[in-house]
Subunit: 164 residues, 2 copies
Amino acid sequence: AFELQKFKKNDFVVEEGKTSRFMGFIETGMFQYYVIQDGEERTNYVSIENTFFASVLSFISETPSLEYVKALVDGSISMISKTNLKMLLNEIPAFKDFYIGLLEASLCGIDASRYDLIVLTAEQRYEKMLTNEPHLLQQIPLQHLASMLGVTPRHLSRIRSKIR
Amino acid sequence: AFELQKFKKNDFVVEEGKTSRFMGFIETGMFQYYVIQDGEERTNYVSIENTFFASVLSFISETPSLEYVKALVDGSISMISKTNLKMLLNEIPAFKDFYIGLLEASLCGIDASRYDLIVLTAEQRYEKMLTNEPHLLQQIPLQHLASMLGVTPRHLSRIRSKIR
DNA sequence: TTCTCTTTTAGACATTTGTCTAGTATAAAG
DNA sequence: CTTTATACTAGACAAATGTCTAAAAGAGAA
């Protein structure tokens, strides 16, 4: 039910206004989730290989996506359509448990992330990323990391020069 | 499998350090999710009647809670233990679908909320709450609303006086 | 009513963060 | 090698937000 889909740099996986009917597992590459606001990109997240892919709201509620997802470099995602997902869920009982586990893990991750945005300062969030997800720092351009941390590139640069 | 549990004002539903083995549905009342940082409460969320209750990370991963959940007024929650939840999931196929729906809805909600924290200014978040969740404004003390919005009470006061 | 406790507002000032701009470095392209 | 584009850093200033403090306004309790 899964199918490997390849993307070249700057290809769109999801476009604003179009319903995203696929989820998947990122085999290679780096994908940027963002919205356009006042003509500017605001990055929500950048996900990398060996993580799950989905434009959550659009995929789950089958409504037009509010966000874009774009390949930052060439990459590939093992994709499953919503139709096939439903089919697997109905036909294979164990797959339901797998899907539940996936949803639970996503929920925990995003809940923790939301806490950090409210509870921690930008500097603390950067330090946490530094210790917990150092691989992101090596792979993801700083301008996007800044947005993920909820600050401008200018400010992230300040934080980095202060810490170093 | 559900059991109505009553709480008096300032009772703890979940305490930091203790694993929370229940989830539920809030029948009445108002419950504050927060962490203590540098001796101060940082509110993540306040949930009210007719919504689901769970200290997500602790309940799902069965680890000690990082947060407190406290009743802000007298209230009651229809609670189900993790043990009973597992039992229902195993014995009633349709319950699995219900649980999947619950997880999906939670994921969408928290994803949108995280976007707002990154993409919108504090003022925009307040205005959004004003139009989308006006009932929260009437029920939840401003000091907690401020924390949910990711700002200090002082600043929320400024935003309110500016908008009015 | 009066008293006390809690919530909300707000002034003054400090800190954080954003905007605008430019410079430097690095890498890719011709 | 030169040229161009992109990423990163940083100065100067402005705007947003936090801290500290106090006063006003409400809500209960005696």
